[in-house]
């Protein structure tokens, strides 16, 4: 009933987790049966180990939060030799978010992940707002975006999802450019660039001054962008941005997303993803929907 296809990837349901909000999945296994999810997108992985940005990296804002973690991760080699073996047998699609500061770095990471049998897809992160070099720089310009996707496409032969930033004039132009360059799917939106100031201390809350805004406050923007992109490209769209319940997920599906990712809501309720799966089942039963694909893109 809930099965969906993302290029040649089959998801048992459309519910996945967003990179950077679910660790490597293990952190949540006390709370939920992770294998009930359609997929998990694990922490952004770079060519080398990264320490990320200095503390403070987080600030709560109305109905949301800013973060500036800055891609702290163990690096692709430690992922392949260590983390992968701990998580590879989880019965769901394990997707690695691939990040970098140069085209060479993206390609190196993608090439190494390509060798891992139980990783059926990568999510190419050309949209991280919290690193000085690369990241969002690639995702804000259609030519640059197409170039990095084209180069990764040459070394990566499984499902290639490209994660887009909302911090652009036209996300549709970027989506079309990466589709033309060989992306199998696009996921959107990454966080929106934001800022918050502690007026008592007269300084920004984040060590990096600006950071990425996520949570329910960004959801209407994300739904709008998913709807625009879904009408403009022929590859499947993965929707994310502030999803915290089944109704939120349904908005994205109706706007045209084939699958969705849950991010910040995992911090509020570590069991939220499974509740969303159950909520989608309940919705389908209540409305006599036999196949969730019936409602995808109906708007």
């Amino acid at each position: 009933m809930l099965e969906v296809k993302l290029h040649n990837l089959t998801l048992k349901n459309p519910v996945m987790t967003a990179s950077g909000t679910f660790g490597y999945g293990e952190e949540f296994s006390d709370f939920i049966d992770i294998s009930r999810l359609g997929g998990i997108v694990v922490k952004g992985t770079t060519g080398e180990r990264r320490q990320g940005n200095p503390y403070p990296r987080m600030a709560e804002t109305p109905s949301g939060m800013l973060n500036a973690v800055g891609l702290q991760n163990v690096g692709v080699d430690a992922f392949c030799s260590d983390v992968y073996h701990r998580i590879k047998d989880i019965d769901t699609n394990i997707i690695v978010n691939v990040s970098g500061s140069s085209i060479e770095e993206y390609c190196t990471v993608a090439e190494k992940i390509n060798e891992l049998e139980n990783i059926p897809a990568i999510e190419l992160n050309i949209s991280c707002p919290n690193v000085k070099k690369g990241g969002m720089g690639f995702g804000t310009n259609p030519d640059m975006a197409a170039q990095v996707v084209g180069e990764v496409r040459k070394v990566y032969d499984k499902t290639l999802i490209v994660k887009l930033t909302p911090n652009v004039t036209s996300i549709v132009d970027i989506a079309k450019a990466v589709e033309a360059a060989g992306a199998d799917s696009v996921s959107l939106i990454n966080t929106m660039l934001g800022m918050a100031i502690d007026v008592e201390k007269r300084r920004p809350y984040l060590s990096t001054i600006t950071g990425g805004l996520s949570g329910p406050c960004v959801k209407p923007v994300a739904v709008r962008m998913v709807w625009q992109v879904a009408h403009a490209v022929n590859i499947p769209v993965v929707g994310l941005g502030g999803i915290s319940c089944a109704n939120d997920a349904l908005e994205f599906l109706m706007a045209g997303a084939k699958a969705i990712e849950v991010g910040t809501a995992n911090f509020v309720d570590p069991a939220v993803t499974v509740k969303i799966v159950e909520g989608l089942e309940e919705y389908c039963n209540r409305h006599g929907i036999k196949d969730i694909n019936e409602i995808i893109g109906i708007i």
Partner: protein
């Protein structure tokens, strides 16, 4: 150690001056094991300003009555909201979280200040149950700023240090006459300058020392990487690798 999400019922509420309160929460069935120094993430309902859970140390655990107690300092909108909860209401907790204190030592010193006294009560209780009577030094600028004192007396020898001399010895905790004795372990939780002073003393005297850190957190389980401390081994999550750290890993933290 398995983590849980559970709706507790508030069975007791006590105020300690204008800025502190304690909530005693009853588990619906049987309380899992909790190590002193671990914490909970509390759900705060009702305002658009407060979305994330709030990390609160576990002040006491009573397995016989299936209760745990949280001692909370009102510092912002989230803790203000929690202060308005009433007996009988439910509170959703994600727990037990983090890495607690190392429960070793024969002659131990516990040093606390402000809200940092919270986890030391359960730690004192643990030592007392093993037949070890800890020395406990609690400090504050004035006696009113040491919220909870009396329960400590049943588990160890309670000493007080106040900056203004309104109670106990006048001066900081590190100037207390009992501070410089030879201990085999020191545990501390409180304001950062206090913990650093305690840690430097322990390091200079070759005493094992653990500090309990507090940083802004989101997930509480080591997934979001927001609450990191700059340790000698790189950025570590206070929520997962901490909140309790041995000072051997915190040379960089001690220097700053």
């Amino acid at each position: 150690m398995k983590k849980h999400i559970t709706d507790f019922t508030i069975v007791d509420r006590k105020s300690y001056g204008p800025n502190y309160f304690a909530l005693t929460l009853q588990h619906p069935d049987s309380m899992p094991e909790i190590v002193p120094g671990q914490f909970v993430e509390v759900e705060v309902k009702g305002t658009r300003e407060v979305m994330l859970r709030r990390p609160i140390s576990i002040h006491d655990v009573d397995y016989k009555n299936n209760t745990l107690t949280l001692l909370v300092q009102i510092v912002g909108k989230g803790t203000r909201q929690l202060s308005e909860l009433k007996i009988g209401e439910k509170l959703n907790l994600v727990y037990p979280l983090g890495h607690g204190f190392t429960l070793e030592g024969e002659k131990v010193l516990l040093v606390g200040g402000g809200a940092g006294t919270a986890p030391l009560l359960y730690l004192s209780k643990h030592f007392a149950s093993k037949g070890v009577k800890p020395t406990i030094i609690l400090g504050g600028r004035t006696k009113e700023l040491i919220p909870v004192q009396e329960p400590f007396g049943q588990y160890g020898e309670l000493c007080i240090a106040t900056d203004d001399g309104s109670q106990g010895e006048k001066g900081m905790v590190t100037q207390h006459s009992r501070f410089a004795e030879k201990y085999d372990r020191i545990f501390t939780c409180g304001p950062t300058p206090m913990m650093k002073a305690v840690a430097r003393h322990a390091q200079a005297n070759g005493i094992e020392c653990e500090v309990s850190l507090e940083n802004m957190m989101a997930c509480g389980v080591g997934a979001c990487l927001c609450c990191v401390c700059d340790t000698d081994e790189g950025h570590k999550c206070v929520c997962k690798e901490g909140p309790v750290f041995n000072i051997k890993k915190l040379n960089k933290w001690m220097e700053n």
